[in-house]
């Protein structure tokens, strides 16, 4: 069982690394997107409400725009990666279970692979961000991005399991990520300071990232809450995964 988990983890990661479109998004889209945001925003001051500490932190539109753009880009990429991985492997996963692969080992290996990919993506996104704007607590920023990315990995799995076609799944993830990250950003969105934003998956990651990048503060309970989103959605995705790899009769 443990050996099968290891094989599923390793081969899932290798397959993700062979996803050329995802690699292209990482290599080109992410830094280009940072550059575009940097070019579109200016040094004008803007306040961001850190709710855990009950105060507004003043920063530049450059920095806040880059942080929002980073969350938007990374959640989109990871949602796309997990959705496409789940959809492409749907039939072969079922075949593997039929051939005797432990269903639990297969699903665990795949989910851990998504978590590892999320961590690598988070570290990469913050390293590239540092080239545009320095952060005060890079480790906290990585943790915040990781919470958002892992949540969208789970959303991608869920969308991959329940959507009928690739297009519906991709559209859902793009729209959710756009709306979710846009409403957290007070640039051009006065509603960012309203309580309603707390009910969106990027709320806690945005709070953690801004706290770590700009205010030199961290409320670790927020990371727990952020991972709670990922775990909650991950459990739903796991249930869908479990259902999808069901076979009528286990192979002898």
């Amino acid at each position: 069982m443990i050996r099968q988990v290891g094989i599923a983890l390793r081969l899932t990661l290798i397959e993700q690394a062979h996803n050329r479109f995802a690699m292209l998004l990482l290599a080109v889209y992410l830094p280009t997107w940072y550059g575009v945001i940097y070019g579109l925003t200016d040094d004008a001051s803007i306040g961001f409400q850190l709710r855990a500490f009950h105060f507004f932190v003043a920063t530049s539109q450059h920095r806040l725009g880059l942080i929002t753009g980073m969350l938007n880009a990374t959640t989109l990429i990871m949602g796309f990666v997990s959705l496409s991985a789940v959809r492409r492997s749907a039939l072969v996963d079922q075949r593997l279970v039929l051939c005797g692969y432990s269903r639990g080992a297969l699903i665990l290996g795949r989910l851990v692979a998504f978590a590892v990919a999320s961590a690598l993506l988070s570290v990469y996104a913050v390293i590239v961000l540092e080239a545009f704007t320095p952060t005060q607590l890079p480790g906290v920023v990585v943790a915040g991005v990781f919470g958002a990315v892992l949540t969208y990995a789970a959303i991608g799995v869920l969308a991959g399991v329940i959507s009928r076609g690739d297009l519906e799944g991709f559209f859902f993830i793009i729209m959710l990520s756009l709306v979710d990250t846009f409403i957290q950003n007070p640039i051009g969105n006065p509603a960012a300071n309203r309580a309603v934003v707390e009910y969106f998956p990027s709320y806690l990651p945005m709070q953690i990232v801004v706290g770590g990048a700009i205010a030199n503060r961290v409320a670790w309970w927020q990371l727990g809450g952020s991972l709670g989103w990922a775990v909650g959605l991950g459990v739903l995705g796991l249930a869908g995964f479990w259902q999808r790899t069901r076979i009528a009769r286990l192979a002898p």
Partner: protein, 204 residues
């Protein structure tokens, strides 16, 4: 029962209101090659999926003695991995110590040179070869093959029959589903699936 590793009794299956299988019954002895023919949409793949254990029958029973080797019609493989990495997945699934048989079949089908190639970059025929190897690499007692020579050139088609004959001589049961059967003499029994039931395919 001792001599029939595969028996199917009164299997029925509907999708919504569409009754695809109405009561399919047949059995295969050791070393028997059975062909199941039928028009497009007759329910051949549904029947094979039920025999393989992928799909539940609404009624009836399937009894299989021994391991199953299932080759789906479309290659169900990891397109983002190499041939070797696909073999590794299935080696773990079958819990095989070595890849000796897989390598022997790859040699017979002449595609060992593609072991390090990404499956997504291979031709349709070569993907089908891999699809077949994944079904046969654990030397199963019962082979369920859905259009297994689809996309093969003539030479590969003949090599496929060489592998099938060799398996049959060792007592394996082979069920081949196809909408076209060129060489009837190769089969011990040829059945026709029509209107949800099987009947001998003599003269068709």
């Amino acid at each position: 029962m001792e001599d029939t590793p595969l028996s199917v009794s009164h299997v029925a299956r509907a999708f919504g209101r569409h009754q695809v299988l109405r009561g399919v019954t047949f059995a295969a002895r050791h070393g028997q090659m059975v062909g199941i023919m039928g028009e497009n949409g007759a329910g051949k793949t549904t029947l094979l999926r039920i025999m393989a254990g992928l799909l539940r029958a609404d009624r009836g029973r399937v009894h299989v003695r021994g391991r199953i080797g299932y080759c789906p019609q479309e290659p169900q493989v990891h397109f983002g991995l190499t041939v070797d990495q696909n073999l590794e997945w299935f080696r773990a699934a079958y819990r095989l110590g070595t890849l000796t048989r897989a390598e022997a079949i790859m040699d017979l089908l002449a595609f060992r040179q593609h072991r390090r190639s990404l499956v997504g970059e291979l031709s349709g025929g070569t993907r089908q070869k891999l699809n077949l190897v994944l079904a046969l690499m654990h030397d199963p007692e019962v082979l369920l093959l859905d259009e297994p020579y689809q996309g093969f050139d003539w030479e590969t088609y003949l090599r496929f029959w060489g592998i099938a004959e060799e398996s049959r001589h060792r007592g394996r049961v082979i069920v081949i589903i196809s909408h076209l059967v060129f060489e009837r003499d190769r089969f011990d029994a040829l059945l026709w699936l029509h209107d949800g039931v099987l009947s001998p395919a003599a003269g068709r």
